[in-house]
């Protein structure tokens, strides 16, 4: 499971960084989204990976970090998702405005001289 998660994060980050460095605004926004997925998975993984652990407490057992999933990264990931969502939406609006104003979807607002 660690391997799958690590590979997933790695592939997402790699594709995200590559897209982020591309010259089209749409590629940049997809790159940022992929990166934020990778980061969300990464935050999630810092709580330790467990299969079938109780979300907070199991009935009849004492609270112990080894028996339940760490709730803090889950709370963090939730907040990060919400914030990432909002900022991506904002960036999308800006992207459309830039496309309308400059007439091109190049990140610099003008096509490179060929």
């Amino acid at each position: 499971m660690e391997l799958i998660l690590a590979l997933g994060i790695g592939v997402l980050t790699g594709s995200g960084v590559w897209l982020l460095l591309r010259p089209r605004t749409f590629q940049v926004i997809i790159g940022l989204s992929l990166l934020s997925y990778a980061v969300n998975l990464f935050i999630f993984s810092t709580g330790g990976l467990r299969t079938g652990a109780a979300p907070v407490l199991q009935q009849g057992t004492a609270g112990d970090l080894s028996t339940y999933a760490d709730p803090v990264p889950q709370a963090l990931v939730l907040t990060a998702i919400v914030i990432g969502f909002a900022t991506t939406a904002l960036f999308l609006v800006l992207l459309l405005a830039a496309r309308g104003l400059t007439g091109t979807d190049h990140v610099d607002g003008r096509e490179k001289d060929r």
């Binding site: 982020l20 980061v39 960036f91």
Partner: protein
Amino acid sequence: MTGWMDHLTIAPIVIPLLAGAMMMLIDERRRPLKAALGLASTVALLVVAVTLLRIADGAPPEAGAAAVRMYRLGDWPSFLGIVLVLDRLAALMLVLTAILGLAALVFSLARWQKAGAHFHPLFQFQLMGLNGAFLTGDLFNLFVFFEIMLAASYGLALHGSGLARVRAGLHYVAINLAASLLFLIGVSVIYGIAGTLNMAELANRIATVAPEDRALLEAGAAILGIAFLTKAGMWPIGFWLPNTYSTVSAPSAAIMSILSKVGIYAVLRLWLLMFGGSAGASAGFAGNWLLIGGVLTIVFGSVAVLATQSMARLAGACVLVSSGTLLAAVGMGQVAVTGGALFYLTSSVLAIAGFFLLIEPLERSREVGADVLAVTRAAFGEDDEEPDEDDEVGIAIPAIMAILGVSFGACALLLAGLPPLSGFLAKFAMLAPLLALDTSGDAGVSVTAWVLLAALILSGLATVVAMTRTGIDVFWASPGNELPRVRVVEIAPVVLLLSLCVALSVGAGPVMRYMEATAQSLHVPQDYVRMVLPPPPAEPGAGDGR
């Protein structure tokens, strides 16, 4: 202390939040009402901030302790719940934010508030994000308030729209989104290793981290640092800064001049808290990087100052120089230098904000492209057409040009760090402890101190040259086009900010004492840690306030 005074700590977050939320409900056409609400909220913020500053400074001086006030949201014990922490540094930054907010808001009443929708709510949320970032005692909340601040700043950066703004805004948003992702990675690595997000608890645990985890923790802190340094505009990741700052509207630029200082604040707070003297094997981690990065930023900023052709970009380059100076001074890791750096921060934030507000009225008197034209003339030695001297004799300097000119001169003195204004005192306060080592230390002044000294002096020289050149082009150009029409509400904030700098120079003694106390408590964060995390036997409720 009375009950409601305990809750004063959260007021700098709640006041703008409520004001901004109320403004959202008010129809966009009722702008005077919004403006009045915004002004009331900002003035209230200033009053609260000054009160908090007095409280924070009220610690018994004989104890040498930081008066740290903790506010527990939801009243959970501080190792579980979220806390706000007020100390001298936070109080200082709150006051600066409120002053800048007031100046920028008053300036915007003349024109900018009409340039687009939702200026006032965005402005309030911006203030809320800034205040929250300064007050929070928790890494993840720092992220949340950073995002609030940035989201509002995206809106303000684009305020007034236009091609140049959207172009620069696109870069600004993309870079800050990427930096926020780095912030998250850093926070989660630190949580994964140390198991806490509370800054004070983190400072406690850092010394006891297992040796095999230490490298990972330091890597997390470094990633976090890159996110902060991007905001602060450290070379090479501060390339976006002059471009963005020069295109945004004047009031937004003025408030953004403290936005870049949030990055500095975070470095100052976290670096000294986490990697201070009590950090065990990690003490002083990456201090050299701050120093080297800071000096390189000063060099880059100075070249940018000299090379720039427009006033707005000049101001952006000055932000870079100021950031670099602060980073290098913090990287020295000496208490006295940090005290001077705090004085410099106050002075330079006020001066740069004043300069940003001053640029716009100045630009009004000039034809488009005058900057480029002036540089071309200077480069090719092409003379102006000779002015008709007989007509010029005896024309009085118009009052408005006189005020603008004096303000510009004050800005130049402040930014370049020349006497008699506070810019000089600030540089002196940073440099004096560096050279004072000569007498006490056996090895004399270190090479790094000389490098920093040279960088500071040369950056001052570059600023003088650039400001003089700009001043000549703006004020000594042949008149002819009509005078700029400047309203009182536009020039008043500039005069306010600059006279505050004058006040800083006059009252340098008490201000410097405050800064030194702040630096002292930052370098010895035990009081901070003790107040935020009261020892276990303390009865509940005893930890907050005094």
